[in-house]
């Protein structure tokens, strides 16, 4: 009797465990279902759709659509405005990223180097990060005003050359870049501060025993190498955000003068939503996406870290 009862009990227990497992699987799917649905509907599905659309000839509202292969990309390759936009975007990134990263690093080091007013400085430098870029862009527009603007008034008082910064094709992109730097520095500073806090204090003590007691030696032998991963991360996110430059272009220059500030996203906006060439704009979007993915890929290569989110 007893010997027969034991397997029966065991079998029932196994069945119960399987039932619990099924319940857990059901719960998992049910809880994740809304997120999975929306993720495909709003992000991944449209991202795939944009690639598919870039292989067609569709214009917004057209009754017909035809597969044209890589024709849109061939057109891009011969499009002067596209090459201008790409060159401008890269120049914008090349101008803003080093300045925003090294100013952020410098400020983080200086703020952390003393204790007085640390909180105040952190607050003031972070303020631009949360501000509405669009409203602040209009302030910069005034600051760059050829006669009444603070920039030219200051430069004039110092006897330095002045220009109409936003209307001069040689300076407009860099004037916009200055706004980008102004907004990005505080964020980078805070990220570097977190990186600095993560460096173990005994490394500095060890370096001191090795005879590295000057501030520069400490920085070169401990801070800089230990900050490597944070540096790569900050450079990547600053570069990706710079690649997305749009607001200041749209409100201050409309891509001008003479396409001097046309950037990838702005051209995509114009092609897709002013000229209604949806498929061509989709091809531009794919180029933009390719660059952003390239940056992320470079980041993972540099960190030599195969994302273990274990």
């Amino acid at each position: 009797m007893a010997s027969a009862a034991a397997p029966a009990w065991a079998a029932r227990s196994g069945g119960a465990a399987a039932a619990i497992g099924r319940m857990e699987a059901l719960a998992g799917w049910t809880l994740a279902a809304p997120a999975i649905t929306l993720m495909w509907l709003m992000l991944l599905g449209p991202a795939v759709a944009v690639i598919a659309l870039s292989l067609t000839d569709w214009t917004f509202g057209a009754p017909t659509i035809a597969f044209v292969g890589l024709a849109n990309y061939a057109e891009l390759a011969g499009d002067r405005v596209f090459w201008t936009s790409l060159r401008n975007t890269l120049a914008y990134v090349a101008f803003t990223v080093p300045s925003a990263v090294f100013l952020g690093l410098g400020l983080a080091l200086l703020v952390e180097a003393g204790s007085s007013l640390r909180g105040l400085y952190r607050t003031l430098f972070f303020l631009p990060v949360t501000s509405t870029l669009l409203a602040m862009a209009l302030v910069f527009q005034f600051a760059f005003h050829p006669t009444a603007g603070l920039v030219n008034q200051t430069l004039g008082a110092l006897g330095l050359p002045t220009t109409d910064w936003l209307k001069n094709p040689d300076t407009a992109l860099y004037a916009l870049g200055t706004i980008g730097i102004w907004q990005a520095v505080g964020l980078n500073m805070v990220l570097f501060m977190a990186g600095l806090k993560a460096i173990p204090k005994d490394l500095y003590e060890a370096a001191a025993i090795d005879g590295a007691d000057g501030a520069w030696e400490r920085f070169r032998r401990v801070t800089w190498p230990m900050l490597g991963p944070a540096l790569v991360f900050v450079v990547t996110i600053t570069a990706i955000r710079s690649f997305q430059v749009f607001d200041t272009v749209a409100v201050l220059t409309d891509g001008g003068p003479n396409k001097a500030t046309s950037v990838l996203l702005y051209q995509m906006y114009q092609e897709g939503f002013s000229f209604l060439r949806s498929a061509y704009a989709a091809a531009l979007t794919c180029v933009f996406l390719a660059f952003v993915l390239l940056l992320t890929w470079l980041q993972t290569r540099l960190l030599d870290r195969r994302a273990h989110y274990g």
Partner: protein, 277 residues
């Protein structure tokens, strides 16, 4: 010797940081300063911080009279709060399922979340626009809210946080007879409150300041979010009437700046959390 050097360094530190801080806040100062001035003083050849003749009331009154500024702010609040509520309702259960439940498809789902994290928000814009057009939803609040109801960043952040919650806590809740759905809201949510607040602030800042998407889908002035509202204002004024324009910019910028000053620890922790994934 060392003290003299450290005093020297301290002076240097405050000199550099002080000037940098001045540059950081100068645009805000300029904005408020101009919003107080009459037109004649705005274009004066020499900059003065305070107006000789105060024109604050006129500028701000004109800003509110010319454009529905209050409406823009209300729209901003409605849209950002709706988006965050939806994001939290969708992300929290999913994050719990990814962090604590065993189900087939979990790994694949997480891989897709990581993949979606790499897609910049401007990439899905054209198909989403077409979809909303077909549904007849362009130029509505729904067009502003629906595409942002999912935040893969939120799922990722909360999942990382939930993994640190001990399993015993969940087992105990199950023994008490709580269902999985109840566990998300009654057990996991309270423990994850700091992460959720940090995520909420980032979501708020992003969606309040976003300009690209509202520019695409909104034409009607009364539906404009704050940044789009400023542009309507700027276009209407053709960039000459700086006093009221700066007053409008001040009104649009103030809510987030005030929120930041009141809750800066949360803001900065939130930003830092994104870096330490």
């Amino acid at each position: 010797m060392t003290t003299r050097r450290s005093i020297g360094f301290s002076v240097f530190r405050h000199l550099v940081l002080g000037s940098a801080a001045l540059l950081a806040v100068l645009p805000f100062v300029l904005m408020i300063s101009i919003s107080l001035k009459p037109p004649a003083e705005v274009f004066a050849p020499e900059f003065r911080l305070l107006p000789q003749q105060w024109h604050a009331w006129e500028n701000y009154a004109e800003a509110f009279a010319r454009q529905p500024l209050g409406r823009f702010l209300a729209n901003g609040l409605l849209v950002t709060l709706s988006i965050f509520t939806a994001q939290a309702l969708v992300a929290l259960p999913c994050a719990y399922a990814l962090a604590k439940l065993r189900w087939r498809g979990r790994e694949a789902t997480f891989v897709f979340v990581l993949l979606a994290l790499l897609v910049p928000p401007q990439v899905p814009a054209i198909p989403l626009y077409i979809g909303l057009w077909q549904l007849g939803l362009l130029d509505t609040y729904a067009a502003l809210i629906l595409p942002s109801t999912i935040s893969v960043f939120g799922i990722f952040l909360m999942r990382q946080f939930f993994r640190t919650v001990p399993d015993d806590l969940i087992s105990a809740a199950r023994l008490d007879g709580l269902g999985e759905f109840a566990i998300v809201w009654r057990i996991m949510l309270p423990t994850a409150l700091p992460a959720l607040i940090a995520f909420g602030l980032l979501s708020l800042v992003w969606n309040w300041n976003d300009f690209f998407w509202p520019l695409l889908v909104i034409q009607t002035e009364t539906l404009a979010t704050p940044p789009l509202g400023v542009v309507f204002f700027n276009n209407a004024e053709a960039g000459t009437n700086y006093g009221p324009l700066m007053a409008a910019a001040t009104v649009i910028t103030a809510p987030l700046v005030i929120a930041f000053l009141l809750a800066q620890r949360w803001f900065i922790d939130g930003v830092t959390m994104t870096a330490v994934k």
